[in-house]
């Protein structure tokens, strides 16, 4: 069985934020929420690099472990999804997540955060595939259509890779071999370090 992974190639990302926009448009994510973000380190200095980050769909997902209502589940493809009907907006997943993936529709005082929202790897949620409820709560389900996440599909420089982990690793390894520099898959140690 395939194990889905994201990988952002820091040597290729040009901080165009096309992935952020593609995601927001595809899933009609509410105002104020961005499931993906692009961060530039050493901005304006030598060694400037940009990385696109979203939920990495960790093997041993911290969000899943700390959720007091157990609203998360992991698909057979390793995609970490959650049930918004169960979510109580406590914010624990946000405290635990290494990638800052969970987002909340409101500011959060008095526990009024609303239902958590995060990247679904374009795999929807627990509602029926392609249903209106699924679209409204989780966005589109491209995985059910046999497609990969739109952020990576739309990436102009193919910096952002999404798909079967083995395939992603192979493509990245070939790239590193061909160019002779720039290895280091950001976040893989945190996301997939513990097991496969």
């Amino acid at each position: 069985m395939a194990r889905m992974k994201f990988l952002c190639d820091a040597e290729r990302c040009i901080h165009c934020s096309g992935c952020v926009t593609a995601c927001k448009n595809e899933h009609e994510v509410p105002w104020g929420i961005n499931r993906r973000r692009v961060v530039t380190i050493n901005d304006g200095k030598p060694g400037q690099r940009s990385l696109s980050v979203a939920c990495m769909h960790c093997s041993d997902a911290p969000c899943m472990a700390v959720c007091p209502v157990d609203c998360f589940y992991q698909t057979n493809d390793g995609i970490v999804l959650h049930n918004k009907d169960l979510c109580i907006g406590c914010g624990y997943c946000f405290y635990a997540c290494p990638f800052g993936a969970p987002q909340y529709p409101s500011t959060g005082n008095f526990g009024g955060r609303g239902k958590m929202d995060k990247c679904t790897f374009c795999a929807g949620g627990p509602e029926e595939d392609h249903s209106k409820a699924e679209l409204e709560k989780y966005g589109r389900n491209r995985i059910a259509e046999g497609k990969l996440p739109l952020c990576a599909e739309m990436c102009a420089t193919k910096a952002l890779l999404a798909g079967d982990g083995d395939m992603v690793s192979t493509i990245y390894r070939e790239r590193v071999m061909a160019r002779g520099f720039g290895s280091g898959a950001a976040g893989w140690g945190h996301a997939y370090g513990k097991k496969g």
Binding site: A10, E11, S17, V20, N34, R37, V38, V39, T40, I41, N42, D43, K45, P46, G47, Q48, R49, S50, L51, V53, P62, A65, V66, C67, P68, V69, D70, C71, N83, D85, L86, C87, I88, G89, C90, G91, Y95, A96, C97, P98, F99, G100, G108, N109, F110, G111, F181, G182, G184, A186, G187, G189, H190
Partner: protein, 326 residues
Amino acid sequence: MRWTTLLAVLMIALGCWSLPATAASSDGDVPTSAQSGRITDTDTWRAIRQGEAGFISGQPEQRGQLIQSEGEAWRAARNGKLAWYGGLALVGVVLAIGAFYLIRGKIMIEGGPSGRQILRFNKMERIGHWLTAGSFLVLAVTGLNLMFGRWLLEPIIGKTLFSWLAWAGKWLHNLSGFVFIAGLVVIFVLWAKDNLWDRYDLGWILHGGGLLKKGDHPPAAKFNFGQKTQFWMVIVIGTLVSSTGVSLLFPFTFADMAGMQVMHLIHAALAVLMVMAILGHIYIGTIGMEGASTAVTTGYVDRKWASLHHSVWVEETEAKEPKAAE
């Protein structure tokens, strides 16, 4: 030759002399990739792993942090040490109280109640007690539910009902926190002066509070040393739990991410300690002792009970108001 011409010649000469040097440096001698910043070096990757924040546009500045590793430690502490040791400690206290009940039994009023009532707590004191106690019960149950409910309650009642309960519990928890703080203020103002060390406390400690053997009643004023300990525990731990709780209610207003995680752990760990202590308090005030619970319900206790457990207080009260005992 005019001096300006000389200067011009000199400059050209210097320029020609320096030109070959410039040409040589680009003659196939490519700057190393480290110099050009072409390679993402190990320091950069390490900085990212250790939480280096970068520039982010169009989104909150805090999202510039790429990797937040402290969350792993928070998760390990909450799901590991806190859940296990906290849970075991709570079970341990319940078992210890059960064992005490089996061995010592209910502490009865020796010779039976006198039938004469004496006012122990006036209306304001009872309000103070129940503001604190009522809100604490709600806070404890809903708080423990967030910590342990997923493992203990959810498998029994199902995810949907449990999620609804946890959601309602979260709101109750967030609101009763303020009632609890109000209660703390009231009981502090009313009772702090009665909870200072007095000359009877050492004797009470030496007698083990009279808990160990039947018929042993060391003298005590309005509150004995055990109650004083309980009182200051509630004031001190209650204040710490309240202040961390308020900061958790306003996320990132008083603390950053690491601060929120630490506050949560302090809040939860101290709350478990407080629940343990209060379990003992509830036991001795209800099923553990005859005649104690009415002090905080009607406000009156039997004069015999009072003279056994708070002999000095009875004397002082009756000296002040001789008719209070009627």
